[in-house]
């Protein structure tokens, strides 16, 4: 089957499937729409954690061991910054820092986030279109038992410890979805829309909160398929399962499928959960969703594309 594939994703987990899709498809066949809700300014720098995770994964420069940031990283800047009494709760590798400085500088010069992202993608050898969900600032905020926290304050500084009650995506009302992202969702040759195994609350929800995105997905004739970020009731990485429990939801693949109920035609669970598939209104597929190797990424991408093509029949 041919046609264009659109992937929605957040950081590390989603980036791995996006990488698998890059390996499975021609560059012109894929657009990746990336969450920017956890972008923030830190020490005067404009940091886009999810865009960077995607660019690093797709450019083959992600650190394979640490699970975030760049390979061959050094930490001299951070060590020196600590020596100056600077803020050290957000780790900035020397190599990673080059991306933040170059991006911040180009934005200050008047480039859009889309333009800067395209430049960085080219410099890192990424041929597919990596699109920020919006050029307008949208900021994820987390209502916890201790009150509202900015996302990075919650996620990095507080290490997701305070129990969550709700989320808000400040700025979505006035924000426009990135034009090419919306256009990609509206393509007549669309083969599939894939919701990557990213956190439903803080990675995918901000994208869906942008005006026009949710309805474009609902209108699309192509199959919409999501991949679970939860295996055996546990998040592969990050706080998704913890959040679901704190919100009184079922911390399971079925719980995630339920959140996407009005959007998806199919849902991919892990083969480990295949014995007790969720009773959902959508078609359930099972696959090896844990991506330990690059080969795992390609294999899952192929399985998801196959599932989507099945749904299109």
């Amino acid at each position: 089957m041919t046609g264009h594939v659109v992937a929605l994703c957040g950081g590390v987990g989603g980036a791995k499937l996006a990488h698998g899709l890059v390996l499975a498809l021609a560059p012109s066949e894929l657009s990746v729409i990336v969450n920017t809700g956890d972008d923030f300014r830190h020490l005067g720098l404009y940091i886009c954690p999810d865009l960077d995770s995607v660019l690093y994964a797709l450019g083959g420069v992600a650190d394979p061991v640490r699970g975030w940031g760049r390979a061959d990283e050094t930490w001299t800047f951070m060590e020196a910054l600590k020596g100056l009494g600077g803020e050290s709760w957000f780790q900035l590798g020397d190599r990673d820092l080059a991306v933040h400085v170059e991006r911040s500088w180009r934005l200050a010069q008047g480039s859009t986030l889309t333009e800067v992202t395209a430049h960085l993608a080219q410099a890192l050898g990424v041929a597919v279109r990596v699109l920020p969900m919006s050029d307008d600032p949208v900021r994820t905020r987390v209502l916890t038992v201790e009150g509202w926290l900015d996302f990075q304050e919650y996620f990095v500084h507080r290490q997701c410890r305070p129990a969550v009650r709700d989320f808000a995506f400040a700025g979505t009302e006035g924000a426009a979805p990135q034009a090419d992202a919306l256009a990609a969702l509206e393509r007549v040759d669309l083969r599939a829309i894939i919701i990557c195994p990213s956190n439903p609350f803080v990675s995918i929800a901000p994208i869906l909160a942008l005006p026009g995105i949710r309805s474009a997905i609902q209108r699309a004739a192509a199959p919409v398929i999501a991949v679970t970020p939860i295996i055996g009731g546990k998040a592969i990485k990050g706080p998704a399962a913890k959040m679901m429990a704190e919100l009184g939801l079922e911390a399971s693949a079925a719980g995630v499928a339920a959140r996407y109920a009005d959007l998806i035609d199919g849902f991919v669970i892990d083969q480990e959960d295949a014995g007790s598939p969720p009773s959902a209104a959508v078609r359930i597929f099972s696959a090896a969703t844990l991506m330990r190797t690059v080969a795992d990424r390609l294999q899952l991408a192929q399985a998801v594309l196959q599932a989507a093509d099945t749904l299109a029949l």
Copy 2:
């Protein structure tokens, strides 16, 4: 002799004598006024080359081999920036970068350059007062045969190649000298004012161009003594001798003494030039002005203080 000593200096050469003075005096006995005319914004960062050279020398973290920047430096950021197509004409070490980021961030938060410098000095273990010449931006510009150039464009990017015709210090009219710097020059217990072996045109002249500084030095009852940055007709470092030749001045210690004629009571030449002392209206002293080791710095500082004390008799 006791009393307060004020040193005026630019970057590397002046910083070495300032370090010698730190070793010779108690912390409360010295104020160092530093040129900020070559400060500039680069990649969105606020960089103060002379303040950094002074802080690194006084904090004992300057690189002893390279002659600029920090010891134990790494260059990962710069390498990664080049990989992203970023501007690479100005070298930024990973450790050095921490100072630029922390300074830029604190300035953006509303701190003055004086406050930020005091913080950095404390963090680097510098106990004497290191004062920017002004909290207001003053920018050295260089008129060359190719037209006006910003200082760093001339100094780093063009490596001082275009012949100079004149200098301007944009912003001096509206700029106030740093209050503690002016007050230090006006102290009643002043022991000496020392003009360090820095470039007279682009390191010392910007300080003297600030309203009130020149007249405060002229009014001071304490001896004013300058140390030559030129030995045997050659600058120890940097373009001072080249500039003098291009301006049609005598590229010698005498030429430097002549430039300070209305300000100084004494002038320290190198012992190498002692055979043919300049015929100047001021008292000439000779000393070993080439500072290769830390001991050389202390020795020169002691010689300069002794010369000043002689002038005060």
